[in-house]
């Protein structure tokens, strides 16, 4: 029966020790630990959230950079095509111009040659006339005495003229 009746002395000691344990642990023990664990949990949650956000942002940046890259590639292609067009155009223009220029030069050369030719012809005509006059003069000077001599003279003169 004594097992079932609480002993007052032990009741007192139990109240005393449990009361003190309760007081100390409830004030300095468990709340500190639980609070810190919850704080840590909150910190971990925050970190996870931040990591998630960073991941998302990184994803965005990646997408953006890819977009930029493809844009740049398009631009490059466009510029290449433009420059290509420009090149062909410049070459064609240059060819056209060159053709015009050569045409002009050729024409000028032709007219110049024509003029030269005409001048030369005029000169030749003058010289021939001069020669004829000279010959005629010399023939006239020898007196028209001797026919054969005259002929000889003409031949001689002609030969001279040819030599000249």
């Amino acid at each position: 029966m004594s097992l079932l009746t609480p002993d007052p002395g032990l009741l007192f000691w139990m109240l005393f020790s449990f009361g003190i344990v309760f007081f100390i642990l409830a004030k300095f023990g468990f709340p500190v630990i639980v609070k810190m664990v919850e704080e840590r949990k909150a910190y971990i949650d925050r970190s996870l959230e931040a990591a998630k956000e960073a991941h998302l942002r990184l994803e965005g940046i990646k997408e953006e950079s890819e977009k930029l890259l493809s844009q740049a590639r398009d631009e490059q292609v466009r510029m290449l095509r433009e420059s290509n067009d420009m090149r062909t155009k410049i070459i064609n223009d240059a060819k056209e111009q060159a053709r015009e220029e050569t045409g002009k030069i050729m024409n000028e050369a032709k007219t110049a040659i024509q003029k030269e030719k005409e001048a030369a012809l005029r000169d030749i005509k003058q010289q021939v006339a001069q020669l004829s006059i000279d010959i005629a003069e010399k023939i006239l000077r020898k007196n028209l005495s001797d026919k054969p001599a005259q002929m000889e003279l003409v031949d001689k003169l002609i030969a001279e003229a040819q030599k000249n």
Binding site: L3, P6, W13, F22, G29, V32, I33, V37, E39, A42
Partner: protein, 375 residues
């Protein structure tokens, strides 16, 4: 000299090897067990029920072991207030293990106060003085309380040092283990059982949990600092239940009291004879009473079971050597098994006490649920 050292080393290594092997341990135990039995053969027959009751009960000195006829025990302070003689404080060694009288007090050997300190009144009767002696249970209680407080404060201090830097507050080893236990109780028991106001009650419930499990475990250690049947003592469990009772009823909401005195039942159950209120009112007391009895009974029975199994070794001596050895092996195996079960019980009882306390607290936190009905 060197040779001697070498010999000593060899002996030590043999002993270490033996200790490491649990089988040899059991054989050694049996060997010494039978030796003790032979030594005790001349002594009168073992009174098992008395032995068990003595072990699970309280005593004025802390008995450690007995060699032959010398008792090795630690005397504890006796603090008594006699009916007429006032306060006395003296060592329990003065009683010479209950055989002597000191300052008018002695330990009763029979009667209602068997095993307790009594004094002889003027009329010649044995009366109980006010007895605040630091008995075996009280000493064990103080000791384990001290150790528990130190252990928890070590952990708390670890966290306190890292206050404000939660990134460094992930512990290892012992602190991590304590944290795991604490958080498993908080998240697994306290939060779901109480609900939104749980933070106010975590310190009490955690203290109760750790106090019970620590004393349960210390009680399972058969050697000196442990072994006292603290949580299997009704005085201890009644104080614990009293705390739960006080917390449940002091912080109960209006709705809680309304549900007790004017519950939601048909009117004829309330007037003119208040049947339901009476039942509910009784419930206030039966709940903590159940807490008290449950913890007390399960720990007490665990201690008694292990002691009984151990006694089997000594009881079967008379049945012959072969029977004795057989029963001893049986008893040792069963003892190991029931020790493991007791380890489990130590945890389960602490868990159940905490959980039921949390449930009772949760029940006292009821909010009016008419709002719910309207929805």
């Amino acid at each position: 000299m060197e040779r001697k050292m070498k010999n000593n080393k060899q002996i030590l290594s043999v002993i270490a090897g033996l200790i490491r092997n649990p089988l040899t341990f059991i054989v050694l135990f049996l060997f010494f067990g039978t030796y003790i039995i032979h030594a005790e053969d001349e002594t009168p027959e073992l009174n098992v029920s008395e032995l068990i009751l003595e072990h699970v009960g309280d005593s004025y000195d802390w008995h450690i072991t007995t060699f032959g006829h010398t008792h090795v025990s630690i005397p504890l302070p006796v603090i008594v207030k006699g009916q007429t003689s006032g306060w006395h404080i003296f060592s329990s060694a003065k009683f010479h293990h209950g055989h002597a009288e000191y300052q008018g007090f002695h330990i009763a050997h029979e009667g209602d106060y068997k095993g307790k300190i009594v004094e002889t009144s003027a009329s010649g009767e044995e009366v109980r003085p006010w007895d605040f002696s630091l008995t075996k249970n009280a000493a064990s209680l103080l000791l384990s309380s001290l150790v528990l407080v130190i252990l928890i404060l070590i952990c708390a201090n670890w966290y306190k040092k890292r206050e404000g830097q939660p990134e460094n507050a992930s512990p290892n080893g012992f602190v991590a283990f304590v944290e795991w236990v604490i958080m498993s109780v908080v998240d697994g028991v306290i939060k779901p059982c109480i609900g939104k106001n749980y933070q106010r009650y975590t310190p009490y419930l955690l203290t109760a949990f750790f106090f019970i499990i620590f004393n349960n475990l210390v009680g399972l250690i058969p050697l000196f600092p442990g072994g006292a049947n603290v949580t299997g003592n009704i005085a201890v469990t009644s104080v614990l239940a009293l705390f739960t009772f006080a917390i449940v009823n002091l912080f109960g909401t209006k709705e809680y009291w309304k549900e007790i005195f004017w519950p939601d039942v048909p009117a004829w159950l309330k007037v003119p004879i208040p049947i339901m209120p009476a039942v509910e009112f009784l419930g206030i007391f039966t709940k903590p009473f159940a807490l008290m009895i449950r913890l007390f009974a399960s720990i007490l029975s665990g201690h008694a079971l292990i002691l009984g199994l151990t006694c089997m070794v000594f009881l079967t001596v008379r049945l012959g050597v072969a029977m004795n050895i057989g029963m001893s092996v049986f008893s040792v195996i069963l003892s190991i098994f029931s020790d493991c079960v007791e380890l489990l019980v130590a945890y389960i009882q602490a868990y159940v006490f905490t959980m039921l306390s949390a449930v009772y607290i949760g029940l006292s936190q009821v909010e009016p649920h008419h709002v719910k009905v309207k929805k």
